[in-house]
Symmetry: C2
Subunit: 341 residues, 2 copies
């Protein structure tokens, strides 16, 4: 669907271009080198969780944040990949928790290798993330390396808090309305924030630059999550590579549903609560919900919130001197709202 | 049962005494302070996984290793507790993988709070472990703090490799015979090794002392695992606080079974394989296996292997100057073989 969009409309292939950039190429090469084909079962499954790589957005954010403060991104490849490991770990463990059998258009790790292996591989990726940060040669002063470890650990704890909060909101759209911003800040904002924070820290940034880039990351992380929540209602599983009904089946009050609920009449509210409570939403429920979120203005409302976070993200970049990396970071933010949602 | 024991027999209440030592008291106080009663669900479950504390052997090893190289254990309390967090994380995730409903004589975390919460709480504990190592004020030079982080990350990956290896050995006693030493080195030796390694590193030890203490830790970890495997056949669930048939139900070829298999005749071998393959061992199977491991000399054989690791552990301590902490470390090793097995 088309949504009124007051922001500029950059090239929609921006992210595809980013995925072909030199930084992305270096990251992919390093990732493939690190996780070669093997017969070791743990490494086979870990490789499956990581490859073929997605957009590598979090590592790319780290590299561009580093470059934006004057660092050399080529020195930071391993540390940046640590953010991809942590991201992949959360996906693997989330897929167990949500019972999701499809991820990136193919069987999820628990579906392909079973829950026990998925638990262990998620753990393996978490440990790998920390190992990546401290691997020698250190890319910054020891104090900065330690700060990056602390940031990663705090991010991980925040992700856990977000996951617990999400579980607590299951089936409860009113609690969802109250806690959704906090939940997505922790669940998605945190890792984007941390990618930028760690990149800026290891790149040698000063406190203001680190703090500005971290805030930028948090806002685009939140924007990405809202976009993801919107996609369940405006895109096909083929486009998103994952189940359109996972959030519904898991009783999740996502932003489009929350806004639809707030705008809907009593009958629609009751039906919306019933669908969430049922935990077995099918194609008819989804079709009804798609109409509801469109007709109540919930899609447009969610889009506006997303665009607001994009603007705030871009504003945070003002602390930095103009540079090619700042342009890329701005482009990543703008891309969120540039898609044919 | 009584087992011939060529080693000296120190006071069997040694570990109980250790649990009442000043170091243990400080650790317990810090642990309780860190994880107060709360209504936050994630912290409630994390606290449940940690408290009431067990023997705190891994943190105690770290403190005594630090003291043995001239460090001040009081400075290392938080970092040492990180080892308990990692240990607790492995227990929580293992209990999901093994389907174990009882741990330390009460419902395991997945039994009490469900699998999704148990996954998240295990992750939370892993992140908490890293956070503990880098928390300010740093207890050693930044380079030593980073080394400790790297050691913890590598230990975590090794634990995952051990877990995967254990899964691969399920139901296969011949593969078990081949891989059991490697598996328990990774699954249990690693964390004891790492506790001593990190304690000695943060305590300011030189390379020889760190390496000797790490080797000591690995050997006592292996000895403890053999002891644990033995207890399933010679102690009651009331004594061990956990299911006596978990290993059997999970088809695990533990050392007593491997040695019994190697010593048994064809009929007993076939029956042993059948029990493992059945994955539903009951009281009668357990009684039969208890007789088999006793009559084939497997209990005595496992005991001898355990005692061998204890001796090697003690030998590794020769690199250190005599001190009260070295005496404690020696006592921990000797305690393993001093029990009424």
């Amino acid at each position: 669907m088309a949504v009124a969009d007051s922001t500029s409309r950059p090239d929609q292939s921006f992210i595809e271009g980013l995925a072909r950039s030199e930084s992305a190429r270096l990251l992919r090469a390093k990732l493939g080198h690190r996780w070669p084909e093997t017969t070791d079962e743990l490494d086979v499954i870990t490789r499956y969780a990581l490859l073929p790589a997605g957009k590598l957005l979090r590592p790319l954010l780290a590299l561009h944040a580093a470059e934006a403060v004057g660092g050399n991104p080529a020195d930071l490849l391993v540390a940046a990949l640590g953010l991809e490991y942590l991201h992949a770990a959360t996906l693997v463990h989330d897929d167990i928790i949500d019972g999701d059998a499809v991820r990136r258009g193919r069987p999820s790790v628990p579906a392909a290798y079973g829950v026990p292996n998925a638990i262990v591989v998620g753990d393996h990726l978490i440990f790998g993330a920390f190992e990546s940060i401290v691997e020698e040669p250190w890319v910054a002063s020891p104090a900065r390396v330690i700060a990056a470890v602390g940031e990663l650990a705090e991010a991980g704890r925040d992700l856990c808090r977000g996951q617990t909060l999400e579980s607590q909101l299951v089936g409860d759209i009113e609690a969802g309305a109250r806690w959704y911003p906090e939940m997505i800040r922790r669940k998605t904002g945190t890792l984007f924030r941390t990618a930028c924070h760690i990149g800026a820290t290891l790149g040698g940034g000063n406190a203001d630059a680190i703090s500005g880039l971290a805030a930028y990351g948090e806002h685009i992380g939140i924007a990405f999550q809202i976009r993801d929540d919107l996609l369940s209602f405006v895109a096909t599983p083929e486009q998103t590579g994952k189940s359109a009904t996972s959030d519904l089946t898991n009783g999740r009050p996502t932003l489009p549903l929350i806004l639809a609920y707030q705008a809907a009449g009593d009958a629609d509210r009751a039906e919306l609560c019933a669908v969430l409570a049922r935990r077995g939403a099918g194609p008819r429920d989804l079709a009804w919900l798609r109409d509801l979120v469109a007709n109540t203005g919930a899609v447009a409302g969610a889009y506006r919130q997303m665009a607001g976070h994009v603007e705030r993200a871009v504003t945070e970049l003002a602390v930095l001197s103009p540079s090619p990396s700042v342009t890329v970071l701005t482009g990543i933010a703008r891309w969120t709202t540039s898609q044919n949602l």
